[in-house]
């Protein structure tokens, strides 16, 4: 009976584990990154346009000269917005929206009802440095996926950096619990990439939006790499299966404990959280791929532009 409850508990926690925070290398987005994206490019749901805000602040009772000056400022701002903000706006096809919304709601409930309470309790018990060490440990284990992604993107310096990081953090970082490689002296920064980004760098479009139960937002392209990411993650080879389940659950609880509040902040700020997360995910992935392309532009064999990366007009509300 005791083991039965243990298994049920582990399953429930695992179900919540990947919600919107899936494996780092997997095709999910983190609330922290999402919120950054949202700041750069206002969510279409809100219909907030920085130019409109600025114009509304202009007083109709001012002198003509003052108005003209303000309009000049608006023109400058419009150019700035056109050149810097609008180009970051990316949309993703969503033919499965009805199903996705159901799964999104399911994941949302799992987060608030199971994952968050467990993570909060865990956070209370374990101090942040220890939780960061655990995060470092699992991040170090995810080296194979980052290394292979760098190689496939012809980013050989990134692959070398990842190898150096893995060796140093494993040997002098107590098995990866510490991250000496990121220090000022060594300055070997983690290559934030995965197989989904690799496909994007090589010109594969993101396809349609899909929300996976437990794993959260994804796209057709990123979903295709989930299997690869699974096999490249050493934790996946833990046997028996319930040990693997326990380790993955613990990893997700630990990761969640380090970002409690981020998800809630984005959700509360959005009129329609589903759309907010969808757009944020698309922008987040687009920016990641754009950054990787920029890094490897001199050597990566980019064959064509990623289709969804093109600027799109703002959606009408």
């Amino acid at each position: 009976m005791k083991s039965y409850f243990s298994i049920v508990f582990l399953i429930v926690v695992l179900l919540t584990a990947g919600f919107a925070h899936g494996q780092e290398s997997a095709s999910t987005t983190t609330p922290r990154d999402v919120s950054v994206s949202q700041q750069v490019a206002p969510s279409p749901e809100t219909g907030v346009d920085p130019t409109a805000i600025d114009q509304s602040q202009a007083s109709p009772h001012d002198t003509v000269e003052t108005i003209n000056e303000e309009y000049k400022e608006d023109e400058i701002l419009e150019e700035y917005v056109a050149g810097n903000l609008k180009e970051e706006k990316v949309e993703i096809a969503d033919p499965l929206e009805p199903v996705n919304r159901v799964v999104h709601g399911f994941n949302d409930k799992l987060y608030f009802w199971a994952l968050k309470p467990v993570a909060q309790g865990y956070k209370t018990v374990l101090p942040e440095p220890a939780r960061l060490s655990v995060k470092n440990f699992f991040s170090n284990l995810a080296f194979p996926a980052r290394f292979l992604s760098c190689l496939l993107q012809a980013d050989f310096s990134g692959a070398a950096m990842e190898t150096g990081r893995f060796a140093i953090n494993t040997l002098w970082g107590i098995g990866g619990l510490l991250d000496p490689s990121s220090g000022k002296e060594l300055n070997l920064q983690k290559q934030d990439t995965d197989l989904g980004q690799t496909l994007g760098v090589w010109g594969v479009g993101q396809g349609f939006y899909i929300v996976w139960p437990f794993f959260g937002p994804s796209s057709a392209r990123d979903t295709a790499t989930l299997v690869g990411d699974y096999f490249l993650y050493p934790v996946s080879y833990i046997n028996p299966w319930y040990d693997w389940l326990a380790v993955r659950t613990y990893e997700e609880v630990n990761a969640t404990s380090l970002r409690i509040g981020d998800y809630e902040a984005l959700k509360d700020a959005a009129i329609d959280p589903y759309v907010a997360f969808r757009d944020a995910y698309a922008q987040y992935r687009y920016k990641k791929i754009k950054a990787r392309k920029a890094k490897g532009s001199s050597s990566a064999p980019v064959t064509r532009q990623e289709q969804p990366a093109a600027p799109v007009p703002e959606r009408e509300n």
């Binding site: 101090p127 440095p129 040997l171 002098w172 107590i174 098995g175 000496p180 220090g183 002296e185 060594l186």
Partner: protein
């Protein structure tokens, strides 16, 4: 966190010393290292990986030479250039030469040497340093080790035409080391250090069946290291980007030597 650690340092040190004093869990597992911590003066971590080829002589009536290859990882916290506490976890194999050899002509054994695979060990230690001047200083250290797993090997014995297969276990290997030394800092940043140390090691030797015809015909023994004192000398050489190389030799009845590379955070 650092403030708390420094604040609680006396308690931590007392705990470490208590563990060492109570259980005598120390051994020459790993290098002793330089007497002065390599951590930052304001307090910080340093980590290391190391290797030690260790030879020693244990006795219980008859003496036996043991050989070990020890690989370990160390985490240490030190401050003010005068104190450090450290912990190690590592693996070691073991070979005991001639322990199965029979003195009885009517007894034959399948092998003379005891050989065991890699087993885990843990070490706790502390060191303190007092600088005499810019170049010289004196220091002391205390460290203890305990092997979490038992070394074991099987041997087939034929006595009077009757074959017997038995297992020998080298259990609860633990030891304690206390050393003092002098350290000199060369202009190039290299530290040289040397000094004497006291060393006590003990293990339980057991057989599941009597190994008749050998010196170890009974089932349980306690073996101890033959020499209680020894000497050590080493050099610590700065490499690049916070890494340092440590080379060291130890002598207590037999010679041991090893190297470690540390990284200062």
């Amino acid at each position: 966190m650092k403030k708390n650690f420094v604040k609680n340092f006396p308690a931590v040190l007392l705990m470490v010393l208590s563990v060492l004093a109570i259980s005598l869990r120390a051994e020459a597992s790993g290098l002793f290292g330089p007497l002065q911590t390599v951590s930052r003066e304001q307090g910080g971590l340093n980590t290391a990986i190391g290797y030690l080829y260790h030879e020693d002589t244990y006795k219980n009536g008859e003496s036996y030479k043991i050989k070990q290859n020890e690989i370990y990882s160390q985490a240490a916290y030190g401050a003010k250039n005068i104190w450090e506490v450290y912990a190690r976890i590592g693996v070691s194999n073991m070979k005991i030469a001639g322990i199965f050899a029979s003195s009885d002509h009517f007894v034959e054994t399948s092998q003379d040497d005891f050989e065991a695979d890699w087993k885990f060990f843990g070490t706790l230690g502390a060191k303190a340093f007092y600088p005499i001047n810019e170049m010289f200083g004196v220091g002391a250290f205390l460290q203890g080790t305990y092997y979490f797993s038992d070394f074991s090997d099987h041997v087939a014995i034929t006595s009077g035409g009757v074959p017997v297969r038995t297992e020998m276990k080298f259990e609860n290997l633990r030891d304690a080391v206390f050393g003092v030394g002098l350290q000199a800092k060369l202009p190039c940043g290299t530290n040289l250090y040397a000094g004497p140390y006291l060393y006590y090691s003990e293990a339980d030797l057991s057989l599941f069946s009597g190994l008749y015809g050998t010196e170890y015909a009974e089932k349980h023994y306690t073996v101890k290291n033959k020499s209680l004192a020894g000497g050590f000398a080493g050099a610590e050489i700065p490499l690049i980007k916070g890494f340092r190389l440590n080379l060291e030799g130890q002598f207590a009845d037999r010679f041991s030597a090893g190297a470690a590379i540390s990284y200062t955070y």
